[in-house]
């Protein structure tokens, strides 16, 4: 068996998101050790494939892994008129309970995470005011700054979803004892990012077409032809790359990558590769929201249950956290724009730019609250119940 990159490096690379601390030592013992791990994993192949769940395999695969979106998609897409399709009347409520609540969840999590004020003083204390000032400036110059704020959030959205898929995939690998080498981690990152590259290259008013304000790309048919080929090739690269990654990890890391990590990549890819852009933003926002809420509620409950002198049940903490997210989501998306209208701004910028600002604030906060450094409270939660490498 080849010597793995981990063995040579002796440690993991650090992630900007879901940072595993950059100091996780691979067990000493060389190839013999990896052989032993491989045999152990093979003996227990179904469990290795299933991975180590946070709550229950069905909950994790359906909600966090995004399996529910594939089930709903399979029912709805062949027959868009089916009863399962969201009606115009019900869609705002579904969005409030999933997507709006998920945007609020990052803020609720930020302020309820133990030690957040101490470890993230800028994000917890200064960012709300900074966001308000920036948003109001964009409102004031809505005609010039507004389109850029909107394009920024629409460009950032698919990156955020891809980064979440990557972070969760790494987290499940780690929990399940599947130690990723630096090379495999890099490949996993590239595979996770493919849907983002897809939207970045081909979406109108986002990514490349946003940067290219002069319309240089539109005037060049050769670039257009290249982008169309890119658009066609990228899903194929995604499939081939994911299969290669899975095989590579199984062969060289002594343990297969859990299927939920693969599912996370597939669901994010399906949202962006298969659905039309308009539908993708609706579907991705709903199911990404559900995915996010499931994992963040789990982390919140674990934090609260671990507090000394806590007297409430887990159900209480789940309901408290989710209720706070729904209320804050309602306040942010439905009350906040009304305040800007009251301040004399037009309804268009008041609604659309508030939405853009909430998105960007969420992406920013999210990049901080999921760190998994050794001293971070998140790390203890991920470690809980994790399968040992051997």
């Amino acid at each position: 068996m080849k010597s793995s990159t981990i063995e040579r490096d002796g440690k993991f690379e650090s992630d900007s998101r879901f940072d595993l601390g950059g100091e996780f030592k691979f067990p000493k013992g060389g190839n013999a050790r990896i052989d032993l791990m491989a045999k152990s994993a093979l003996r227990n192949l179904p469990a290795s494939l299933l991975g180590q769940s946070f709550v229950h395999p069905i909950f994790d695969y359906m909600l966090i892994g995004g399996g529910l979106s594939l089930v709903v998609g399979a029912c709805v897409l062949p027959n868009p008129g089916a009863a399962l399709t969201f009606s115009a009347a019900s869609l705002p409520y579904i969005i409030l309970l999933s997507n709006s609540a998920h945007f609020a969840a990052s803020t609720v999590r930020l302020y309820t995470k133990p030690g957040a004020f101490h470890s993230l003083p800028f994000v917890t204390m200064a960012l709300p005011l900074v966001s308000l000032v920036l948003l109001t400036t964009c409102m004031r110059f809505a005609g010039t700054l507004g389109p850029h704020l909107t394009s920024l959030y629409l460009t950032w959205s698919p990156y955020h979803y891809a980064a979440q898929a990557y972070g969760l995939a790494v987290m499940y690998c780690y929990r399940s004892g599947c130690l990723l080498s630096a090379g495999n981690k890099k490949l996993l990152w590239w595979m996770s990012m493919l849907p983002f590259f897809y939207v970045f290259a081909t979406g109108s008013n986002v990514g490349l077409h946003w940067i290219d304000m002069a319309g240089w790309l539109d005037d060049r048919p050769s670039i257009d032809a290249f982008l169309k080929t890119f658009q066609f090739a990228l899903p194929l690269v995604g499939i081939a790359g994911t299969v290669y990654l899975w095989r590579n990890i199984s062969l060289h890391q002594g343990r297969p990558m859990p299927l939920i990590s693969v599912l996370l990549l597939i669901t994010n890819a399906v949202w962006w590769f298969i659905l039309r852009p308009g539908n993708a933003f609706v579907w991705a926002t709903i199911f990404h929201g559900i995915q996010y809420l499931a994992i963040v509620v789990f982390f919140h409950v674990k934090d609260q249950m671990g507090r000394p002198n806590q007297r409430h049940s887990a159900t209480y903490h789940v309901l408290w956290f989710y209720g706070a997210c729904v209320v804050l989501g309602y306040a942010l998306f439905n009350c906040f724009p009304q305040a800007y209208v009251l301040a004399g701004f037009g309804p268009v910028e008041s609604v659309l730019l508030v939405v853009a600002a909430i998105n960007i604030h969420h992406f920013f906060v999210d990049a901080y609250i999921w760190r998994l450094k050794r001293a971070d409270a998140n790390r203890a939660i991920v470690d809980t119940g994790a399968t040992a490498p051997l």
């Binding site: 409520y93 409030l96 200064a126 709300p128 809505a142 005609g143 909107t150 009304q338 268009v348 609604v351």
Partner: protein, 231 residues
């Protein structure tokens, strides 16, 4: 030591100010909605209600700038047809036909089955008083009006009136006269007297080999040929 304290102090001040503004904004937004609309802010609030409100209040300049802004900011494209169509109609009513035409044209591109949009674009192209309007666009008016009229089995006097105006705009006065006469008969049969009166006046122009160019009409009223009814 002093710097750290100052930083802490700034952070804490920013936090208090930021949170206070947020709570104030939430409260004001909540109560504004209750006071103005007698209900809590609706879930899934959009700017559409605000646009409709500006329309009702006849604040046309504010409405035009909001519609333009919505076209720039609303990139999800779900409301693009309505935005272009409403902006086109508004600009047309303000006598800015040359600005209205691209928006009406885009609305037809987005929804080629919308007979009102087809008819309105044809009417604007045919009756725009600007001599700068290219003849090819006037010819396009004939094609669009013909398409709209065909969809209504040539039974709509307003759309036939548009077709007559389009024929006149490209110098096809004989066709304009026969089409206008058909429109007049239909209008009389349907007892649409104001429309019949307008068609009769235009018919005199066509008989004198003159096209019909119109004056701006108030936004929100039926278009001169009444083609936005009976869709």
């Amino acid at each position: 030591m002093y710097q750290v304290s100052l930083k802490d102090c700034l952070y804490k001040t920013a936090f208090v100010v930021g949170i206070a503004i947020f709570f104030l904004a939430f409260t004001l937004g909540f109560f504004r909605s209750i006071i103005l609309h007698a209900h809590i802010p609706p879930v899934g609030v959009t700017y559409r209600a605000g646009i409709d409100s500006l329309k009702e209040q006849r604040k046309h300049n504010a409405l035009a700038s909001q519609l333009r802004l919505a076209l720039d900011l609303d990139l999800d494209r779900s409301d693009q047809f309505n935005l272009h169509y409403e902006l086109g109609m508004l600009l047309d009513s303000q006598g800015k036909q040359m600005e209205a035409i691209p928006h009406l044209h885009r609305s037809v591109q987005l929804n080629s089955d919308h007979i009102e949009a087809l008819n309105h674009l044809a009417w604007t192209l045919a009756t725009c008083p600007d001599p700068e309007l290219h003849r090819s666009l006037r010819l396009q008016a004939v094609e669009l009006a013909r398409r709209a009229s065909k969809r209504l089995a040539n039974k709509h006097p307003g759309v036939l009136d548009t077709l007559a105006a389009a024929h006149a705009a490209v110098g096809q006065y004989e066709l304009a006269v026969t089409t206008a006469e058909s429109a007049l008969k239909l209008a009389a049969r349907q007892q649409a007297d104001p429309l019949a009166e307008e068609i009769r006046a235009r018919l005199q122009l066509y008989k004198a080999s003159k096209p019909f160019y119109r004056e701006p009409q108030p936004f929100g009223k039926d278009r001169p040929n009444g083609a936005n009814s009976n869709q």
